[in-house]
Symmetry: none
Subunit: 406 residues, 2 copies
């Protein structure tokens, strides 16, 4: 059982939605690197009574309390005062800190308002943590077998302070000797519930699932992950496209580069998204030749040479047109592979035979063309993303088969 | 004194730092539109005991409790069960919800694991909130003069549900009568500091600025905004492209539709992003004809007929090639307007004469072609977005001039 750790972030701007709170994300990631995790995170505004209550409640539960924000010079900054009062430790000015603040203003050539020196107040027995990127120092206080660490709110001040002063102390005192490892597998083409069902139990590790747009993350956390990894790989096979932060488009660009092959795309309903995703990957220019965004029927005829009779007979959203688009795209661009999409993104344009959400996804290879049909019941942008995901995954699987790494 | 409102977000992935928690930001912004604000926000992992404690503590303090996440089908989803147990309200399957879930799987043609039907369990007396974007419904429970609302975790499921079912109820029951009004103006083509300088002071309102990717938001909050609005509009003029949630691509599609005009795009460095953004707008098919993603030199020649001599003499990233792309795109597609981009997204591929970040943006109209040159010193994806923003804005300003609404 590791020490319980809580985080309190303060700032009325967070509760008003003007500022996205990224401290939780940052601190959690840093703690994970030393095998620790947060047990709870609380956000309160710049209100002394609310902050006092939140700190008192957290201290009643935890061994380590990290708090961010409210150390600045303005009237709404109250964390220092609230903590000093709550712990019964009077504040006194630390002249070393005061000198550092004065020096900072002097070097910048700015007149220093006297209020700024509030930031040199330190609760009795607290250790000040230097802040080379701002005026407010951090504060670390040992109190009745609790460690309380107060950190400045601005990320560019908080981050170096956290890494230089806080993380080493936490590692030395609280990191488990035999710390757990975490891995994340990225899965495409299976619903979250199906992923869980296929994996079943994974003894000895903590198993977590997170459904993202068009993919599922499977997270395992434990001391020894080998057995769980073997089980997950056996259960999901080629549905696993990567790990950690891998993106499907990156995987595909790498596969193409490794195989020395190229791709082009013909997009109707995805409207350029597949090309956009591929060209987000640095180095895409070596493998991506061209994209045809053939949104109108006329452009399918003009840009790709789809026959007007095919469009008239089967409609633009059809297996036949998708096949023709993929094959023409491959032929005209000179690429080794071509992807094509045609579908009804909605919210308008559906019919009983061809409802909103219907999409055909084509893959043309040097030897054959395959077309998948899906019904993607999502809003317009999610529809486009899912369709792009299925298309990229079709190419990934083809490359897995035909160009296995040696 | 308005009703106390708290938010609990759940998910071990949040406390492990795998997922950035954006729910607080979103919900706070929506509450602000009806004059309400959150008093506290708590994040806990997928641990039933911890979640139970956090919910019990919040209920002891607040009038309205909003909770997100933990309604899914997997074993780590426990919010529904924890709340039912805590409130002493047994869970029973709602067959209407179960049928909707079965229907969703049936329509998509996917086998449904039995576990998915956990999501049809409803605590006694709770109201289910329909989820058209996923399987887990939301739940609203009135309990001992508290309102408890449980919402799904995925943002694309949470947001429409919150706006359709939760916000109206909160507005009707808890919004203050004499509420301040908030308006947000969206500005393109000016840096945040320039926007602030141009506006100057705005007496009687609270003024806020937020720099977003490729645009700046100016926020005014107060009882009477007329004078401040007049001042802001005079200071920023046509740099204001919209308000609130307006997106530049929506504005452009609306302008084109109103003018009965069409557009096509020829994208090199933006790689399909402009086409993607335009086709994100419902109804884009009436105004967007085609996109040419001419990433390679060969494709610029093949798809657009750019002359190999022009490419050889000036290079692909040049005013001349950009102009040729825009004009060919307009001619070949038959559109009234064409946009073209060519540049160096990086991080590799720059030279002393043509550094990473250099981009040319072309607009071809029925009467002339104009080409802008910019140096966008950003990472690859931000570069692409800024370039797409400048291109769309060039078309917006052209349409402002030539097709003023009557």
């Amino acid at each position: 059982m590791s020490a319980r750790i809580e985080l309190i972030t303060t700032g009325t701007e967070l509760l008003l939605g003007f500022t996205l709170n990224t401290h939780l994300n940052y601190i959690a990631q840093k703690l994970a690197t030393i095998g620790l995790r947060l047990d709870r995170h609380t956000t309160v505004g710049d209100d002394p009574a609310e902050l006092r209550a939140a700190i008192a409640e957290a201290l009643a539960r935890c061994r380590v309390l990290l708090a961010t924000g409210g150390l600045g010079p303005t009237a709404d900054d109250c964390t220092r005062e609230v903590v000093a009062e709550l712990l019964g430790r009077p504040l006194a000015r630390d002249e070393t800190i005061a000198d550092a603040i004065r020096e900072r203003f002097r070097r910048r050539g700015i007149a220093m308002p006297e209020s700024v020196l509030r930031q040199a107040l330190v609760p009795a027995g607290a250790q000040a943590l230097p802040n080379p990127h701002g005026t407010a120092p951090g504060l670390a206080i040992e109190h009745e077998n609790k460690l309380i660490v107060l950190l400045p709110g601005p990320p560019r001040e908080l981050k170096p302070m956290f890494e230089q002063y806080v993380l080493p102390v936490l590692e030395q005192n609280f990191a488990p000797a035999d710390r757990p490892v975490c891995r994340v597998f990225k899965v495409v083409g299976l619903a979250e519930s199906v992923v869980e069902e296929r994996i079943g139990a994974a003894p000895g590790v903590e198993l977590g699932f997170c459904a993202r747009m068009g993919e599922v993350e499977v997270r395992i956390l434990g001391k020894n992950l080998a057995e769980a990894e073997r089980k997950i790989r056996a259960a999901l096979g080629p549905h696993i496209f990567g790990e950690g932060d891998d993106r499907l488009e990156e995987v595909v660009v790498k596969q193409l580069a490794a195989a020395g092959k190229t791709v082009a795309v013909a997009e109707s309903c995805t409207g350029g998204l597949i090309a956009h995703r591929l060209t987000n990957v640095s180095g895409a220019s070596r493998v991506f030749l061209a994209g045809y965004v053939t949104y109108s029927n006329e452009s399918k005829v003009e840009l790709l040479g789809v026959r007007p009779e095919t469009l008239a007979r089967h409609g633009a959203v059809s297996e036949e047109v998708c096949r023709a688009m993929a094959e023409a795209c491959r032929r005209r661009s000179g690429a080794d592979f071509a992807l094509a999409t045609t579908g009804i993104a909605g919210p308008t344009g559906g019919t009983p035979e061809k409802p909103v959400g219907l999409v055909y996804i084509g893959l043309a290879t040097p030897t054959r063309t395959e077309v998948q049909r899906h019904l993607l019941l999502f809003d317009r942008e999610t529809f486009k993303f899912f369709a792009s995901q299925y298309a990229l995954d079709a190419l990934r699987r083809e490359l897995l088969k035909s160009h296995r790494p040696a």
